[in-house]
Amino acid sequence: MTATAEAPDRRSYFAEGWNPAAWLLSTDHKRIAWLYLVALLAFFFIGGAAATLIRIELATPAADLVSDDTYNKLFTVHGIVMVWFFLIPSIPATLGNFLLPLMLGAKDLAFPRLNLASWYVFMAGSLTTLYAVIAGGVDTGWTFYTPLSTMFSNSHVSLAAAGVFIVGFSTIMTGINFIVTTHKLRAPGQTWFRLPIFVWTLYATSLVMVLATPVLAASLLLIVADRVFGIGIFDPAQGGDPLLFQHLFWFYSHPAVYIMILPGMGVVSEILPCFSRRPLFGYRFVAYSAMGIALLGFLVWGHHMFVSGQSSFAGVVFSFLSFCIAVPSAIKVFNWTLTMRKGSITFETPMLYALGFLGLFVFGGLAGLFLAALAVDVHLTDTYFVIAHFHYIMVGGMVTAFMAGLHFWWPKMTGRMYSETWGRIAAATTFVGFNLTFFPQFVLGYLGMPRRYHTYPDEFAVWNMLSSAGAVILAFGYLMPLCYLGWSLFRSRRAPDNPWDATGLEWQTSSPPPQHNFATQPEVTGPPYQYELPEIDRPAAPR
């Protein structure tokens, strides 16, 4: 505990012990982050494979690759895996897990064993669901709408729901751990307004995790109870109400969208200042807007239900609240943009991804305005417009931010640099591939193509073909980093402690960090993002 007689341990966490137990039983948050990273990447490619099959099937209007039943199971797997086994834990459980203690100047999270347990719970849950998928599949869609899921589906709904339920526990554990860590383990001098924005967004995300996930648990519990015992709380034949399920489900699932996007916003808030060599513009407003989004995110779930039979009055209320959440999101975008002003900008891979995020997030967010506007939503809801909108936010936004963060902190995590050239090519490829895949879907949705359609009328063929073509490019964009990042682990030059010349406590320790993160307890003396222009761009001293 005290740094008295012992010499500071300079061996990195990465080098220490390479037997399975040293990784699988480690309570070191940095190693647990790796456990999560490997698991999540596997799930990302499982979900991606399902998406690929979906896009191949949809390349032509007729059913020519898979049967309708298989198609339904494919999009269900894609949804469940991507939402719960990739997007929800993506940045928090990997980058967050790795960086939160480092950014706070702490030795570990508040509850290291709980952290390890959360990974095992995650694996138990996700493998349960995966087993349900292999054993025959689930065909309810990731939304599990009743009474389809309770009374009419003959697939493995209970098992899949149980898996998701278990993964929920892991999410809550991570949330608790992050909240307590942020409150209790900040370095001396690190006041709330000296925290990096990434910590703010992780904190906001954790709040949402702890407050929303139990409600998902309740709704899944009731579905399983209905299938097993016939507890018909959602069953109209017993006087229950199927819409209650939608209320409970979206009470979780809309805030869950913010679990997915908030950490991405945090990552971008770290990267933009670093590569612009400028402090983050309007730091306090960005921090407040993260908390604002976490709160407002709970008030808007009814906008998924405008045509569901919910009362018109409730529809109007939820529409109004949905427009309110546009405000904090817009604040962030304006502040990021102005951060670049009068900077000294360089375009390394993380910056390219971050700029890509900015573009895709802006257009995805603006599409949200269409869906919040009641009369327009009546036409667009349950069509490909919605699909395009949330993929712009979750894939264009979140996955791009995840890639940005992974490239930004890769040298810190591994102590190795990757190929900058390949990094830039991959960033550009994903950006182009993404837009080609998902922009046509906006048009398809406006034309009226409903989502979850296995076959479709001929008039939608051209745009679907374009979208499928884009998906091929996108797939290459995601496979490339897997190769060159993997390669960099073995054959690549060693990274310096602070390759980007960035501020923030995590860059003050070695790359990769030693087991207990810091040789001496760091102290924080000023606000974050104290970047200065390099010599070459420094203006003449003002008079």
Binding site: V180, K184, F229, I233, G239, D241
Partner: protein
Amino acid sequence: MSAEAQGHATGVEPSGEFGVFVFLVSEGLLFSALILGYLVARLAPGADFAAGSRELSLPLGTLNTAVLLSSSFCIALATIWGSERSRWARLAALATVALGIVFLCIKGYEYFEEAQKGLLPFRDMSDRYPKAEPQHLRLFFDVYLALTGTHALHVISGIGLVGGIALFWRRLARPAHTLKLAALYWHFIDVIWVFLFPLLYLAR
């Protein structure tokens, strides 16, 4: 907030307590969501949902509430004695577990009786229940089973937790502190029942 701002200065103890409370918030929302199902059914215009309440056994429900309140009292004593390093702490914890088991037994007996009457979905109700119109009763018992079942699962995990601490008392680094955290969970289960009892048994 002054201790807060110090960050590292605050010890592990408040972290544990704070962590448990954050967890209880999560648990609280789980039950709130289930109770919302109850409210939606009960507040629906017309339906005589609360009539199902008359089919429950008020004496057993009252007794069970008293049992659970007593268990809370027991574990409160256990934490007091635990902080005084008294041997009584472990005994009080065991008494808490015993009361928890009594609670489950009574609850189980109630389920048994209700299933006999054909009120629970464990048996086919259309044959068993004599009235022609089981509609509202059925929904009431659906909600009843979901709420009390989830609560019973929490009692079971509480028994495991407190029982484990009592059994492995000597092997724990700080048994009294661990017990204090477990007690928070136990009291929380009690608070949930305090709301379930009037909602289900006293709706009439």
